[in-house]
């Protein structure tokens, strides 16, 4: 695939120019929130920040974070940096309890976010000749509308299908020759299964080329499965309502990490416990500062999403930083012997080992001891004890290599641990420190 750009100048800006641009924008944003958002003015004053002392990008880390809870302090309009008459759209994002987060867009915000989407679509090979069937939920959720505007900005024909009614989805694909879909990975799997069940041939009856999948975490394995079933390229996209929805970061044709648009956001990766930056390449919580948004700028917003940054430059020529697919939530992190560990790291190791079933459990007890209970695969058991001991050692060594701590691995019978679906309790902390 040839490499094309929607905004080549910005997408290929040299790293030093990118930093200069970011700093210039940051100064503007800080000045604006200080002047126009009482919440931020108070927060900055409280932290003893003098804006004239912000001289370089790295001074950013002196500023206080914005958390999800902060969004509810002066709810719902308190974080607006524009008068309400300049605000043209509201999106909300469901919180786990109580009121939804309210996110406001000005006209400028809508088209700025649309440009990020248009860049992403071009980055994956789409052109104005493509037909996008947008099967995300239209409404308060940012997913569908933001993608819709971005695709229109590029000039694609957009079919605002919305989710569900799979029969109609497939009919639309066949009738109008849909080339790209935007949906959740779980729905994509479902649609693929129905297409197969109908005996339709992807590539012949259904001419999809690309699937943009997001809004839910999914594994590399799921990606390959969907790619194979639908004969498409699957691209991972990342976004969150607080940052304007989808398009914050997107995979390019190389599918190795997601480019995060650094002219629109400053990305930091921090240790969720200490708030300090992690070492380059280490897993931490993504923290984002908006650089373009006018209605509702956010400074150092704690996304609670865990990722790490790639360091090597991307062969596609884009200079913007790449982050890994989201590997989990910061709230799941725990510390053993001073090392930050995420259940997802353990899960990834276990998934790659033959003989292990799906479920596992982490138990912390005593003086910082970590026990990992792993269900064995029923078919792996052949009556030999050596085979099990070897499996136990393999799991121990592979975990040690990834998390830097040697756990005690216990093999347990399949079906005895809580199932992995939903919010199974993965970590049980019985430490009495």
């Amino acid at each position: 695939m040839e490499t094309r750009f929607f905004n080549p100048k910005i997408e290929k800006l040299s790293p030093s120019e990118l930093r200069v641009l970011q700093f210039k924008k940051l100064k503007t944003v800080l000045r604006r929130v200080y002047q126009k958002v009482p919440f931020y003015r108070e927060k900055l004053k409280e932290a003893g920040i003098n804006l004239s002392k912000i001289k370089t990008l790295s001074d950013l880390k002196e500023l206080p974070f914005t958390t999800k809870e902060d969004l509810f302090v002066d709810y719902p309009f308190g974080l607006l940096a524009e008068p309400l008459e300049k605000v043209v759209r509201l999106h909300t994002s469901s919180g786990t309890t109580g009121k939804p987060k309210a996110i406001f867009f000005s006209k400028k915000d809508i088209w700025a976010q649309a440009e990020l989407i248009a860049r992403a679509l071009v980055m994956t090979g789409s052109t104005s000749q493509d037909i996008l069937q947008n099967s995300m939920t239209y409404g308060l959720f940012t997913g569908a509308l933001v993608m819709h505007y971005g695709a229109e900005l590029l000039g694609m024909l957009v079919i605002p299908a919305g989710p569900g009614n799979t029969e109609r989805q497939i009919e639309l694909m066949r009738t109008f020759g849909t080339t790209c879909v935007h949906m959740t990975p779980s729905y994509a799997l479902y649609v693929a299964t129905v297409i197969q069940g109908k005996g339709l041939k992807p590539g012949v009856d259904i001419k999809l080329k690309r699937a943009y999948l997001g809004a839910e975490p999914y594994s590399e394995e799921t990606r390959r499965k969907i790619e194979e079933m639908l004969k498409v390229d699957v691209y991972n996209c990342y976004g969150l309502s607080e940052m304007g929805g989808p398009g914050v970061a997107f995979e390019c044709q190389f599918k190795k990490g997601l480019h995060l648009w650094e002219d629109a956001f400053i990305a930091e990766i921090i240790d969720p416990k200490t708030g300090m930056p992690v070492k380059p390449g280490e897993v931490g919580e993504l923290v984002l500062t908006t650089l373009n948004r006018t209605a509702m700028p956010l400074i150092r917003y704690r996304t609670r999403d865990l990722t790490y940054a790639f360091e090597e430059p991307c062969p596609c020529g884009r200079t913007h930083i790449k982050i890994a697919r989201i590997i989990g939530r910061a709230d799941d992190m725990f510390i053993v012997r001073g090392v930050n560990i995420f259940p997802q790291q353990i899960e990834a190791v276990l998934m790659g080992i033959k003989g292990v079933a799906q479920n596992y459990q982490i138990i912390l007890e005593g003086l910082d001891e970590m026990i990992v209970k792993v269900e064995i695969d029923r078919d792996f058991f052949d009556g030999r004890i050596e085979r099990l001991l070897k499996l136990r050692d393999e799991i121990t060594e592979k975990l040690k290599a990834v998390i830097q701590v040697r756990p005690k691995v216990e093999l347990v019978e399949p079906g005895t641990l809580p199932v992995s679906e939903g919010k199974a309790k993965r970590v049980i902390d019985r430490r009495t420190l």
């Binding site: 064995i376 058991f381 052949d382 009556g383 004890i385 099990l388 001991l389 093999l411 019978e413 399949p414």
Partner: protein
């Protein structure tokens, strides 16, 4: 001349062994020989039973992890050195014995022993050659 052995993976949990044995008892399965190999956190229960297929079926149904594997059963003269004689035959031919355990019952004046080696076919040939009496599934059913 191989006989079928039932192996069950057991995590180190209170009452788990009882649950296996109780499940077998409910299904009217008779245990002829039994041994447990254990580590600090799991073990393997090995058994010779009167109906291994049925035993595996009921254990699978009850959610246990069971597997049928082949072992050799031999009748050993019930006197000092009886088993040693047999092991010597194998040792001299470089056959590794993985484990050995005895049946609960005797057959006349002979003790019955389960042997698992790294090469069952060769073991059978060697023991036959040496005139050792091997057990087959028929004999076991009539115990």
């Amino acid at each position: 001349m191989k006989i079928k052995q039932l192996s069950v993976f057991l995590e180190n949990k209170k009452g788990r062994l009882y649950e296996v044995l109780n499940t077998l008892a409910q299904a009217n399965i008779n245990i002829r020989a039994l041994s447990i190999a254990d580590t600090s956190d799991f073990g393997i229960l090995r058994m010779i039973v009167n109906n291994p297929e049925e035993a595996k079926r009921v254990l699978d149904e009850a959610g246990f992890t069971a597997k049928i594997t082949n072992v050799i059963g031999v009748a050993v003269k019930d006197r000092p050195g009886g088993l040693a004689e047999i092991l010597k035959i194998l040792y001299e031919k470089d056959i590794n014995v993985e484990y050995v355990y005895a049946f609960v019952e005797k057959s006349g004046e002979e003790a019955l022993v389960v042997i698992r080696t790294n090469n069952l076919d060769k073991t059978i040939d060697l023991l036959k050659e040496a005139g050792v009496k091997l057990l087959d599934s028929k004999t076991l059913e009539n115990l």
